[in-house]
């Protein structure tokens, strides 16, 4: 155990290298800082994809390493988006209201500005008072803290309740899905204080940066997303590489045995659950300013299942697999559903990919689960000429289990 962090995680350097090359390349090709080869909307798509990769990284940590299939991480992702969206919307509306009020004879009182903002934001849901959840919306630092705190505390409470009563396996999956559904239904109400069905909009206009054009802002957000992804990768790689990583992998493989060895299984699970919720929330806080709009449909249970799909296709239990899966599937998905994929004419029927992409995705997902449980990441094993030991389907012993994980890595 004397080897350095980087030696234990050879993928980190490769990953950071590729990520920085990618960022540099996109910057050079962008409209704002380079040869204007890539459109602003495509750069936004790339930036959003990086955020999704970060969320997938969190999903890989909780599912691939700790064995908890959470179907609620997109809810944390969206909550992070809501938290930052509240500040974006408030600050921008505040600017508009102050401008409007400055035309009047008397200087505006603080109360008038407050009422004006509330009327602007909540007119659509028929309310005129600022709900108490918007208490901190005026302040960027406080709201940034909430990006971490709200999903973190929610995950902490939910995780504590679920893990202490030893809800595991598919039951936990269904429970997390129920949590997501409850949250989505709650936010769909008009009196939830977050504009119900309408969600928060106009998030792409960053207050204070009104003079900066969107093509510059999109590149800045791409940099921020890439930076966050790089940091997230370092953090998660560090978490899974040490003794802590061994324990959570052991929990995945045989929870009861770890408990009997004296480890606090609930504590480890709770830590991982909360940490990944926070990472997902930060990813969401970077994602939604690029998307421009957030509404409760974003945290429908299906979104979280897609997150699991990306990780599974990319290859769970390896960090770069999650990133590859999220990037590949979400980019392909936007390519297919954007109507840019060529239709296939079969003579009697034309396959229009806008209609058939989901079917292809669903079936390929079944295929990956059945035939390539390692996902795309398994290809790297082939490249390196490595295979998992073939044990003819017999159960692996406890010692061999951890060894196999190492073999698969190096």
């Amino acid at each position: 155990m004397t080897r350095t962090y980087l030696a234990r995680n050879p993928s980190v350097l490769w990953f950071l290298l590729i990520l920085s090359l990618f960022t540099l390349g996109v910057t050079v090709l962008s409209e704002a800082y380079g040869v204007a080869f890539l459109s602003t909307s495509f750069i936004k798509t790339l930036g959003k994809t990086l955020c999704l990769c970060l969320a997938a990284l969190a999903m890989d940590l909780i599912w691939g390493y700790a064995g908890i299939l959470s179907l609620g991480h997109m809810a944390f992702f969206a909550l992070g988006g809501y938290m930052i969206g509240m500040w974006l919307m408030y600050a921008r509306t505040e600017g508009i209201v102050i401008t409007a009020l400055s035309n009047e004879a008397l200087p505006a009182t603080a109360q008038e500005i407050q009422n004006g903002i509330a009327g602007q934001i909540f007119g659509v849901v028929g309310a005129s008072e600022l709900p108490s959840v918007w208490l901190f919306a005026h302040s960027l630092p406080l709201q940034l803290m909430l990006v971490v705190l709200v999903p973190g505390i929610l995950a902490l409470i939910f995780g504590w309740l679920a893990f202490r009563s030893r809800v595991t396996g598919v039951y936990l999956s269904i429970l997390t899905q129920a949590m997501t559904l409850a949250l989505a239904l709650y936010l769909f109400q008009n009196d939830s204080g977050l504009r119900g069905n309408n969600g928060l909009s106009g998030l792409q206009n960053i207050p204070g940066l009104a003079d900066v054009s969107q093509d510059r802002i999109s590149v800045w957000f791409l940099w921020a997303s890439a930076f966050a992804l790089g940091l997230g990768y370092l953090l998660v790689a560090w978490v899974v590489s040490g003794k802590f990583g061994s324990v959570i992998r052991a929990i995945r493989d045989d929870e009861a045995r770890v408990r009997f060895l004296g480890y606090s299984v609930e504590g480890y699970k709770l830590f991982v659950f909360t940490l990944t919720a926070i990472i997902a929330a930060i990813a969401g806080a970077l994602y939604y300013p690029q998307a421009g709009i957030i509404n409760p449909a974003e945290l429908a249970p299906i979104a979280s299942i897609y997150l699991a799909v990306w990780v599974a296709i990319g290859g769970r239990g390896r960090l770069y697999g999650a990133v590859i899966g999220a990037a590949a599937v979400s980019l392909l998905s936007s390519w297919f559903t954007g109507g840019r994929a060529p239709s296939i004419n079969l003579g009697f029927y034309t396959i229009n990919w806008v209609d058939w992409w989901l079917i292809l995705l669903g079936l390929s997902f079944v295929g990956v689960t059945l035939f390539a449980p390692k996902g795309i990441g398994g290809l790297f094993d082939l490249l390196q000429g490595l295979r998992s030991p073939d044990r003819k389907g017999a159960a692996l012993g406890p010692d061999d289990g951890s060894l196999m994980e190492k073999e698969a890595k190096e």
Partner: protein, 653 residues
């Protein structure tokens, strides 16, 4: 409003002039009254025609009835040649005329007669006047109509004719109606307090809507205010405390409306008053830049008040002071205290009874929702509960069943027949789909339950999109046969639609079927053996592959039938299954996996819970679902294995 106006007009006008007519002169003939009021009858207006019609109705002349009903039905005209009123009836080329006293008056061409066409308001007044004639009409249908008219438009002067007609009534049903109507009118309009109280109390325990309609105007209240120490006239219901019963703002508005206090100065008015008095960049000596707080603005306004440039207005402290110096009460518009007390007692009784009825209705609703959840979940109780396979495509099997029903209806237009065909067909289609899925996908994943979840989810999105491609995104109808329309009605409040009854029955049938299948058949025995210990079962000669396949197919097939039932009351869309999948899993998990009674208990609990929460906040079903799910998450903390947990070896892990 219109009814009330008409009632007041009639009340005032029918009593006074009639009495005057009766006392001062011998009864006039109907013809004479019409002639006397020629101008009014030719150009009637609802506000002024009252006395004329009342005079006609009260004349006692049988011909008055003929004239009034003719007038209301465009049967009264004016002959242009001599200006005489005539009763007209239309023929192909003109009118047949009769004089007002009933004698024959020949015929006239269409152009020679001006037909009188009273407007709807006047016709209403005439109709009310006619009611008293109709109450004693030989035709029972007309008597019934008259009663309906009175019930719709009750008025004090109808009370006497109604009472007079009761004794002569021969039809027992009409007599009962007349009696009830008499009591309803009595409790509102009778001059004698004791009679009214007796009428009110005679209704004790009655739930009729008409009674509540009669009692509510008696108990209508208004808020009033008076300075402390002065008496408030009127029938006081109770005192109001500013702050708890009504807000200070409401209390003050009441005082302003009663001219007991000066108008409050709203911030907007204050602002415009200040803006109107800006001199040299300052208001009353306070620079504009400093006026960005409410306190500074108040100071400026007070300064202006002192200077006399703006009217005196109440500030917040003054408002509090003024409100404290007044008494606020709720008064009944009905002046008789004894009557309101009796009415309130009866109404309270009604409300208690009504509450019980609503509870019963709520219980029925909850039961029907529970049977829907049970139906949606019973297939899962087999695939998830017994086999422990997480089938996320279960909702899509429900959808497939519903679409099968829709397709069958395209080919068989008879709804009853198509339903009979569709039920087994839906079972077959989803059975086949389930078997195919088990063979192709699930059997490879029995050892990896989490991955089953994901693989079946892949199938679920593929099936959903496929349905969208085939049937489009708009909702398709699955029409229920006519004999399932309508509702089983117990009384005004408690009722349940036949479709829901049918679903309840279907759920019961499936419960019986499941119990029979699992406990009484060879297949059930083998299923239980295979799920408990596959290798042991295999060594006993059972083919686990075949059993798994059949069981999974069975669970899916039941989902298909549930789909038809759900499609009958919900629109069939490709997202139909989505709406039920989480709730179905909840039902099975909450109830306790592996036990059909648990699923039943789970469905009952979720259904009752959802309806119960909806009852607290009826406008918001989303909130009900949210809180229900939160409750379930908490519930699982305390009973992680569900309501009915398997014990011992049957529990497996």
């Amino acid at each position: 409003m219109r009814a009330a106006l008409a009632a007041i007009v009639l009340a005032l006008l029918s009593l006074m002039p009639l009495a005057a007519l009766a006392q001062t002169s011998p009864p006039l003939s109907a013809v004479q009254i019409v002639e006397d009021n020629r101008a009014q009858i030719e150009k009637p207006s609802r506000q002024t025609i009252g006395p004329v019609i009342a005079g006609l109705a009260g004349s006692g002349d049988p011909q008055a009835l003929v004239i009034l009903s003719a007038w209301a039905n465009r049967g009264l005209g004016v002959r242009k040649s001599d200006g005489a009123f005539v009763l007209i009836s239309e023929t192909a080329d003109g009118y047949v005329l009769r004089a007002l006293d009933g004698s024959d008056a020949g015929t006239a061409a269409r152009a020679d007669i001006t037909e009188l066409r009273p407007n709807a308001g006047v016709r209403g007044v005439i109709a009310t006047a006619l009611v008293q004639f109709n109450l004693s009409d030989p035709d029972p249908a007309r008597r019934a109509d008259a009663l309906t008219t009175i019930a719709r438009d009750p008025a004090p002067e109808l009370l006497d004719p109604l009472r007079a007609s009761i004794d002569a009534e021969t039809d027992p049903v009409l007599r009962a109606r007349k009696d009830r109507l008499n009591r309803l009118l009595t409790l509102r309009f009778d001059p004698d307090s004791a009679t009214r109280i007796a009428a009110v109390e005679s209704f004790s325990g009655d739930l009729g809507l008409d009674l509540r309609g009669a009692l509510n105007p008696l108990l209508a209240t208004t808020r009033r205010a008076a300075p402390l120490g002065t008496a408030i006239d009127g029938n006081i219901a109770r005192d109001l405390k500013p702050g708890s019963d009504l807000t200070e703002v409401e209390a003050y508005d009441l005082l302003v409306a009663a001219n007991l206090a000066p108008a409050r100065l709203t911030p907007a008015e204050l602002k415009s008053a200040l803006a109107a008095n800006i001199t040299d960049g300052a208001v009353a000596g306070i620079p504009l830049a400093d006026l960005n707080t409410q306190a500074a603005r108040n100071r400026a306004y007070t300064a202006l008040e002192v200077a006399g440039t703006v009217p005196v207005a109440a500030t917040d402290e003054e408002v509090t002071q003024i409100v404290a110096g007044h008494r606020f009460v709720l008064t009944y518009s009905e002046p008789d205290t004894a009557v309101t007390t009796a009415a309130q007692a009866v109404l309270t009784g009604i409300e208690v009874k009504l509450g019980a009825m609503q509870m019963a209705d709520l219980a029925l609703d909850a039961l029907s929702l529970a049977s829907i959840y049970f139906l949606a979940a019973i297939g899962l109780a087999i695939t998830f509960g017994v086999m422990r396979v997480i089938n996320m495509a279960h909702g899509e099997f429900i959808m497939m069943g519903a679409y099968t029903g829709y397709v069958v209806q395209l080919f068989i237009p008879n709804y009853t027949l198509s339903l009979i065909v569709a039920l087994p067909l839906a079972f077959l289609v989803t059975f086949a789909a389930g078997v195919a899925m088990e063979r192709l996908v699930i059997r490879h994943l029995y050892k990896r339950p989490l991955e089953t979840l994901l693989a079946t989810f892949g199938i679920s999105i593929a099936l959903q999109q496929l349905a969208k491609n085939i049937f489009g995104t708009q909702a398709r109808p699955l029409t229920s046969p006519a004999w399932l329309d309508g509702a089983l009605t117990f009384n005004d409040i408690v009722s349940i639609s036949y479709i829901r009854v049918a679903i309840f029955v279907l759920a019961l049938v499936f419960l019986m079927f499941f119990l029979w299948l699992m406990k009484r058949t060879r297949l059930g025995l083998e299923v239980r053996a295979v799920t408990q210990n596959p290798s042991m079962a295999a060594s006993m000669g059972i083919n686990p592959d075949r059993i798994n396949m059949l069981t999974f197919g069975l669970g899916s097939g039941i989902a298909g039938i549930a789909g038809i039932a759900i499609g009958l009351f919900a629109k069939v869309t490709s997202e139909l299954g989505n709406d039920y999948i989480v709730q179905s899993f909840m039902t099975v998990v909450v109830g306790g996996v592996g036990n059909i009674w648990g699923t039943l208990a789970g469905a009952l609990m979720i259904g009752t819970l959802q309806k119960g929460i909806e009852w607290f906040n009826p406008s918001n079903t989303l909130a009900a679902q949210t809180y229900m799910i939160l409750f379930i998450i908490l519930f699982i903390q305390f009973r992680p294995r569900g309501i009915i947990a398997l014990k011992g070896r049957a529990a497996g892990d």
